[in-house]
């Protein structure tokens, strides 16, 4: 009996899923490959000349973002209209140049002009506006706007036993890195930024010095991920960082369900930290170091179902994520209920509250 009941539910579910139409998507992605932001004193590639300067997208990174746009077009071809209409689409970006340019490139891959939209036959590209907020007021993507209580908690985390344990565990590694880099390495943040730089060298076929091997790189990557996670160590911190993004997405979803005029395609160009913040607020991960071009997608269906996907990068598979605080079929209402603790009601007020 039980078995049949389940079978019946299963079929009903399948039917239901098939009947629902995609209504809105939110695509949050990390920018493409960039040149290093910093070097270290004993860096053999310290004086390497990067086209376009430090911290900018490389040509390879530009291509990655363009391909990401094309792949999104392939994946959502039935949903994303052939023509670019600003009412359907919104591109938001962090204020940083590599994100602004990444957004422009994804737009170029997603919306190559078709027939009537071709304005210059020699140039199959069309301008797409990218919107952003100044860094000091952007709590959506850079997530750097002032928040008193968050800053308090972050300070506490920094002095917590967890970080202390990290520092004890990595004592030997810090010493090793300090000797070989020529700069003081005594915290996980420095290890993360060093890992970023070395990873970029690797991707650009710049040989790494003898004292670095694959095991060390892998270990540093784990530490990098740990560092990204401590920015959302407590539930309150998750709520104030990734939670604000989720709230924004939910609000747009609700507007769409209430037939308000909101874009059905919402693109967000941001950073590895942004993705970690959001995925930790969704309780999808403990630690993660998102790849370049890593993408998190929220889908809304007209039966109010929400689905979340993670795409490690455009070369891999898009993988659906089970939302731990929601049901298998997760509707907006249940999502809101399940994630109540992670979604701020009034961000600005909650920043002032002492917890």
């Amino acid at each position: 009996m039980m078995f049949f009941k389940r079978l019946l539910t299963f079929f009903l579910c399948v039917l239901y899923v098939n009947a629902a139409n995609l209504k809105q998507i939110h695509v949050l992605f990390r920018h493409g490959e960039r040149s290093p932001r910093s070097t270290y004193p004993k860096d053999p590639h310290k004086d390497f000349k990067w086209d376009g300067g430090l911290g900018q997208l490389t040509n390879n990174g530009k291509l990655q973002m363009y391909i990401l746009g094309q792949e999104l077009r392939n994946h959502y071809n039935d949903f994303i209209p052939k023509y670019y209409w600003p009412v359907d689409v919104n591109f938001s970006s962090s204020s940083v140049a590599r994100c602004l340019t990444s957004a422009e490139l994804v737009g170029a891959g997603l919306f190559p002009p078709q027939d009537v939209q071709i304005w210059n036959p020699d140039l199959l590209w069309q301008p797409i506006p990218i919107h952003y907020l100044p860094r000091n007021v952007d709590n959506l993507l850079t997530m750097k706007s002032n928040c008193t209580e968050y800053d308090n908690q972050f300070r506490q985390v920094h002095n917590s036993s967890k970080v202390l344990q990290y520092n004890q565990a990595y004592e030997n590694l810090y010493e090793y890195l300090t000797i070989h880099t020529g700069m003081t390495v005594d915290n996980i943040e420095t290890v993360e930024s060093l890992h970023n730089t070395l990873e970029i060298y690797q991707m650009n076929n710049l040989s790494l010095p003898y004292w670095i091997n694959d095991t060390l790189m892998a270990q540093m990557k784990i530490i990098a991920a740990q560092n990204l996670a401590i920015y959302s160590e407590t539930n309150y911190m998750k709520r104030m960082k990734g939670g604000y993004f989720i709230k924004t997405v939910l609000d747009l979803m609700k507007s769409s369900l209430n037939s308000k005029k909101v874009p059905s395609i919402n693109m967000y160009a941001a950073h590895d930290l942004t993705l970690v913040h959001v995925m930790r607020a969704l309780d999808l991960i403990d630690t993660l170091k998102p790849e370049l071009g890593a993408t998190l997608i929220f889908e809304l269906y007209d039966d109010e179902q929400i689905k979340v996907y993670y795409w490690e990068n455009w070369k891999g598979k898009i993988e659906e994520q089970l939302l731990p605080h929601c049901r298998t079929i997760c509707r907006v209402e249940q999502f809101q209920e399940g994630y109540q603790e992670f979604i701020p009601e009034n961000w600005y007020e909650e920043c002032q509250v002492k917890i």
């Binding site: 086209d51 376009g52 300067g53 900018q56 997208l57 040509n59 390879n60 530009k62 291509l63 363009y66 209409w85 600003p86 009412v87 204020s95 140049a97 602004l100 340019t101 990444s102 422009e104 490139l105 170029a108 009537v116 939209q117 071709i118 304005w119 210059n120 020699d122 140039l123 199959l124 590209w125 069309q126 301008p127 797409i128 506006p129 990218i130 919107h131 952003y132 907020l133 100044p134």
Partner: protein, 415 residues
């Protein structure tokens, strides 16, 4: 009007291509490319969206191309000055936070920086991404000039009370009534008239036949007033200072930085600043400098500021206005060709204000310097003194009467 500008440019051709070998830095401000009407009027035969290729107020294909060509013009004007390889150290691009201006900047950059050499990231596309910076519309007193300013609003209201503007309303009474009747919306001032005029213009350019009632007044009877409407936001020096002062402050700061910072300094500002904005921006900037010949600035109309350094410690400014195919030198007060940099700052100082000052002036209505406001101030003081005295007396009486009750009120500590 247009004939005049064209003619003067032909006559001024020697100035159109001034010597660029000692050029140090350039600031350009332009209007976006061709757009659809912002909002059609209620009785508009073409108010159905299907008549138009893109949504209301959006950049059209022709607009993109016109901007692309403007970008190519900049490339031709500054072939050696601006390196062909893009670098964020050479150029900073700023736009108002409006789709058509951001898209205009992007199209312009496609013409200015077609990828060459190491900039080529994809053989199949002659375009590369370049960041375009914006500030939210209501947080932007510099370019959008839409951040609310109480003092400005007050002064503008005063302006419209003057005999000159009251007379305009009087003269236009019948025209306003006629336009209101047939367009189905209230046209009660020249600004609203200009919106309608602009819609007529766009429809005419798109080969749509205007209704007969419109043909009777467009363009002749409306043109003059539409053109005048572009001058009113900066009609007096006070208005000009509050409307365009923050921009001129940024402009002068930028050039000052160029003249004072050592060449090898790490944070040397880019040599080329690009601002993508609106017809009102162009008109207001020109009018504030006293160089506005009443007209409606056309698509891609551009103001070019060029800073030259012919020799050590000698700096000159040239300003051009390009609303046709050629840029024409303009005169600011008595300064035209190779205007001395120090003198130029002096000329602009009355209409320059930094954003901090701007904020405080905008919000302090009581600090006006006009005689009228002096009386208002005195009046307000007298009234409030009397009011406070009466209140104090009342409160003391109450307090005496309810002394016991009063001390028990729980809100007391919050008073």
């Amino acid at each position: 009007m247009f004939l005049f500008t064209t003619l003067s440019c032909v006559l001024a051709i020697p100035f159109c291509f001034a010597n660029l070998s000692d050029l140090d830095s350039v600031v350009v401000v332009f209007r976006h490319g061709d757009r659809t009407p912002i909002r059609p009027y209620p009785t508009d035969p073409y108010r159905n969206r299907s008549y138009w290729p893109v949504d209301w107020g959006m950049l059209t294909n022709i607009g993109k191309l016109r901007q692309y060509n403007l970008g190519q013009y900049f490339r031709q004007r500054y072939p050696s000055f601006l390196p062909a390889i893009y670098s964020e150290k050479d150029i900073y691009v700023r736009s108002t936070d409006v789709d058509r201006t951001i898209m205009s900047a992007a199209s312009n950059l496609a013409g200015l920086y077609p990828p060459v050499g190491t900039d080529i990231w994809n053989e199949n596309i002659a375009w590369q991404p370049i960041p375009i910076h914006t500030l939210p519309q209501h947080e932007d007193p510099i370019l959008a000039a839409k951040k609310p300013c109480k003092k400005y609003d007050f002064l503008q209201k005063q302006l419209f009370q003057t005999a000159y503007f009251r007379n305009i309303s009087h003269v236009n009474h019948d025209l306003y009534a006629y336009l209101s009747k047939y367009s189905g919306q209230t046209i009660s001032d020249i600004e609203k008239l200009e919106y309608l005029y602009s819609t007529f213009q766009i429809e005419t350019w798109n080969n749509f036949t205007l209704p007969d009632w419109a043909k009777k007044v467009y363009p002749q009877k409306m043109e003059k007033w539409a053109a005048l409407s572009f001058a009113t936001p900066t009609f007096t020096e006070d208005l000009a200072r509050l409307k365009t002062g923050p921009f001129f402050f940024e402009l002068l700061e930028y050039f000052r930085n160029r003249t004072e910072t050592p060449r090898n300094a790490q944070y040397f500002s880019p040599k080329f600043m690009m601002y993508s904005a609106h017809d009102t921006t162009i008109a207001s900037l020109l009018n504030s400098m006293g160089a506005f010949e009443y007209h409606c600035p056309p698509y891609t109309a551009t103001i070019i500021f060029e800073l030259h350094r012919p020799k050590e410690n000698s700096w000159y400014i040239n300003i051009f206005y390009k609303n046709t195919s050629e840029a024409r030198l303009i005169k600011v007060k008595d300064c035209s060709f190779d205007c001395d940099w120090q003198y130029f700052q002096q000329i602009l100082s009355p209409i320059t204000i930094n954003t901090k000052q701007w904020e405080s002036e905008c919000n302090s209505l009581l600090l006006f310097s006009t005689i009228l406001n002096f009386y208002i101030l005195i009046g307000a003081l007298v009234v409030s003194l009397i009011g406070i005295t009466v209140l104090l007396l009342l409160v003391r009486r109450r307090a005496r009467a309810n002394r016991n009750l009063y001390s028990q009120l729980p809100e007391e500590e919050y008073a």
